[in-house]
């Protein structure tokens, strides 16, 4: 089989991956960097992010304020040393991106403009109209073209990590255009594959968000941290799940129930004012807002739409001029996908799965417990987001931790000698598995779409916004059965050229592993915190659970759940207060 080798290998070419690749090249231009992405980098899901990226630059704001907002927003599950490093490095990373050409929106005097965002006490969210992720990704991608040491493997699908002697040595990947299998060896591997929203049936996430990196690491024995924390964004369009950015609320939008009443005031989120008040009402944290929706639905006060219950997002009072200036993409999306003009009509919205706070367990520098393996971005859990992420922290996270992981991986790789061990045998094994289990197999009765949809239904039922022990156990049992049934899947497409049925099957197997990790972590955490709400354990339990859950796969294929205490520095756990 073909083999190539590099010093640092990135799996995933989104915001974190590109930032890390650039960081490696800046630290040591002689290192050979490979960016292996299953799609062209400008298609990565970073492109869909809308609202903004937070960093402290305005007078009157302070790093401690940003840290406190983040820590309290995460319900005290964030590692405070990581948060301190994050808020400290954020402004410089964001300025660096500006120097690279990112078209941030500006104040009339030419300085960077900032806006309010959910859960933040001060205005610190930088934005590029309402297509921040798009502009950040394209700026990073176009800047990465400058570096000749970065070799891109566009549309190569990584199927497994090669590990020998307790150290990562590279990956096995399929070149989609030709179907060729190749072992790409590297001294350091950084996972930047994003989250796993497609595990759920209703999500803002793109088709490519299948938890690839999380499953790859999990199968290599690396623990997944805090997988039970799944963020539901309160405002997604029904049916499509298209995201309506939090910026609609930070500019002053209201959430109304079927009586036109701003229902958030009933849920300890403050009192309604005409203008948006920071950390209050519609600018509260996402988990509380999504939970409020569920409660409203139980009371029968939501609006029945053709695709389920919705509430209304009202931005009519903002006026056409502001909407066209600050929220043009939102208007475009509503007109196109809902046939609604938000300037004069109400937008129907409901909570939608959006982000995974959990992921591959890393330290402050993006290093996982497996030597040579790093992770950054949504796939990683450092953890700076804790039990609930604040909006606009994740785009900044890509830059800060992408750079950190890049630098750490570069330093690590510089010290390694070329020694690939016995990984080529592993790579041949993987080729045999892919051919035998998928490409050549003709018997099998299960359909990929069938298993995928059942997985999505069962996890939404069992591990949605509100969970119980019973619902989680039921989901765990169903997922076990689906794993068994997956072995009976047979492809209709046996071609080698751009076989997207093969990639769909591989993605489904990744998702099944990740789904089990989510459900098991949720089952073992018998408390409610942030976005993990157990109706059978409704209180937060700082005595037992001020810790991260770590789910790891054992050698024999079974799993174990352990706990790692949260690192506290200067903010002892307190009450999360919004609106007062």
């Amino acid at each position: 089989m073909d083999v190539s080798s590099h010093d640092v290998l990135l799996v995933g070419g989104g915001g974190a991956g590109l930032r890390a690749a650039i960081a490696v090249s800046e630290v040591n231009p002689k290192l050979s960097v490979a960016v292996v992405s299953k799609v062209y980098p400008m298609r990565s899901h970073t492109v869909s992010a809308e609202g903004g990226a937070a960093a402290v630059i305005k007078p009157g704001d302070s790093l401690d304020d940003h840290a406190y907002d983040t820590i309290s927003g995460g319900d005290w599950l964030c590692d405070q040393d990581a948060v301190e490093a994050f808020v400290r490095e954020a402004p410089e990373e964001m300025l660096r991106l500006e120097h690279w050409g990112c078209p941030w929106s500006r104040d009339p005097d030419g300085h960077i403009a900032v806006r309010a965002f959910g859960g933040m006490k001060k205005e610190r969210t930088w934005f590029a109209a309402d297509k921040t992720g798009f502009h950040m990704l394209h700026t990073l991608f176009q800047t990465s073209l400058k570096y000749n040491a970065i070799n891109r493997y566009d549309e190569w699908f990584v199927t497994r990590l090669l590990v020998d002697d307790g150290q990562v040595r590279g990956v096995v990947a399929i070149q989609l255009a030709s179907g060729k299998f190749q072992a790409i060896l590297a001294k350091a591997v950084i996972l930047c594959t994003g989250g796993c929203g497609k595990v759920f049936p209703f999500t803002t996430n793109a088709n490519i968000k299948n938890g690839d990196g999380m499953a790859l690491a999990y199968r290599a024995g690396v623990p997944l941290k805090d997988m039970e924390f799944v963020q539901y964004h309160p405002t997604g369009l029904p049916f499509t799940g298209i995201l309506i950015t939090e910026a609609t609320r930070s500019e002053g939008g209201y959430l109304l129930n079927k009586d036109g009443y701003r229902y958030l005031q009933d849920y300890d989120l403050g009192t309604p004012e005409a203008k948006p008040v920071l950390r209050s009402m519609e600018l509260g944290p996402r988990d509380r807002l999504s939970q409020a929706f569920v409660k409203e639905e139980e009371k029968g006060r939501t609006v029945e739409g053709p695709y389920g219950a919705v509430v209304h997002l009202d931005i009519r009072h903002l006026g056409e001029k502001l909407i066209n200036a600050k929220l043009p993409f939102v208007r475009e999306l509503c007109l196109k996908y809902q046939n609604i003009d938000p300037v004069v009509e109400l937008i129907p919205v409901r909570p939608v799965v959006h982000y995974m706070m959990g992921g591959v367990s890393t330290d402050l520098h993006g290093a996982t417990p497996l030597k040579g393996l790093f992770a950054a971005g949504e796939v990683a859990c450092v953890s700076i987001n804790g039990a609930n992420r604040l909006g606009s922290n994740s785009l900044t996270e890509l830059l800060v931790f992408g750079a950190r992981a890049g630098r750490a991986a570069a330093a690590f790789a510089s010290e390694q000698k070329d020694s690939w061990g016995h990984v080529l045998a592993q790579a041949m094994d993987e080729t045999r598995r892919l051919e035998g289990d998928f490409l050549r197999k003709t018997t099998g009765r299960e359909s990929i779409a069938g298993i995928r949809e059942e997985m999505q239904r069962s996890i939404e039922r069992g591990a949605g916004i509100y969970r119980t022990g019973a619902s989680l156990i039921e989901a765990a049992v169903t997922l076990r059965k689906l794993q068994e049934r997956f072995r009976n899947v047979a492809l209709q497409d046996h071609s080698r050229t751009f076989n997207t049925e093969l990639t769909a099957a591989l993605e489904l197997s990744f998702m099944l592993d990740v789904a089990e990790a989510i459900v098991q972590s949720a089952l073992h955490r018998t408390e409610s915190r942030g976005s993990h709400q157990r109706t059978d354990f409704p209180a937060r339990d700082d005595e037992k659970f001020l810790s991260h859950s770590l789910v790891s796969r054992n050698e024999d294929g079974s799993f174990r759940v352990e706990y790692l205490p949260v690192t506290l520095t200067r903010w002892p756990p307190g009450e999360r207060v919004y609106g007062r």
């Binding site: 493997y153 070149q175 255009a177 030709s178 050229t497």
Partner: protein, 141 residues
């Protein structure tokens, strides 16, 4: 990668398994927009023809009233009348499409906002009308 990626723009190399559809010689007839484009480009031939005709007319003028009268007689031939009518239509078409495209090539900004296309197109038509009126008045009085 199967193909060599180089710094300069290159024709995508031949790959035995990729399918390249042949572009038909009649590609311009496939879409109305392409046809309009080709007609627009062809109209320049008629503009050139009118220029030549005008030069011939001026030459006839300088050669005296008899030469000019002969010139005018020749122009009355039905073939030439038809040709000139066609050419006139194409020159109009040329002018209209030219005016309408003019704002696209310019990026005039005043007080921070892009000058709307109409504001660039309209003065052209107005000038055309004005000059035509002057010429007509000169000829017909």
């Amino acid at each position: 990668m199967e193909s060599e990626v180089s710094e300069t723009p290159i024709y995508t190399p031949y790959h035995p398994r990729w399918y390249r559809a042949r572009v038909s010689t009649y590609w311009w007839s496939r879409r109305w927009a392409y046809l309009k484009f080709i007609l627009r480009e062809l109209s320049s031939i008629f503009v050139a023809y009118f220029v030549v005709l005008t030069l011939l007319q001026i030459r006839a003028l300088t050669q005296g009233p008899d030469a000019y009268a002969r010139f005018q007689e020749r122009l009355k031939a039905p073939v030439l009348v038809a040709l000139n009518a066609l050419a006139f239509f194409f020159v109009l078409f040329h002018a209209v499409t030219w005016f309408n495209l003019a704002p696209k090539a310019m990026n005039l900004r005043m007080r921070g906002k892009r000058v709307p296309d109409l504001l660039i197109v309209l003065p052209n038509y107005v000038a055309w009308l004005a000059i035509s009126t002057v010429v007509a008045w000169l000829l017909l009085r």
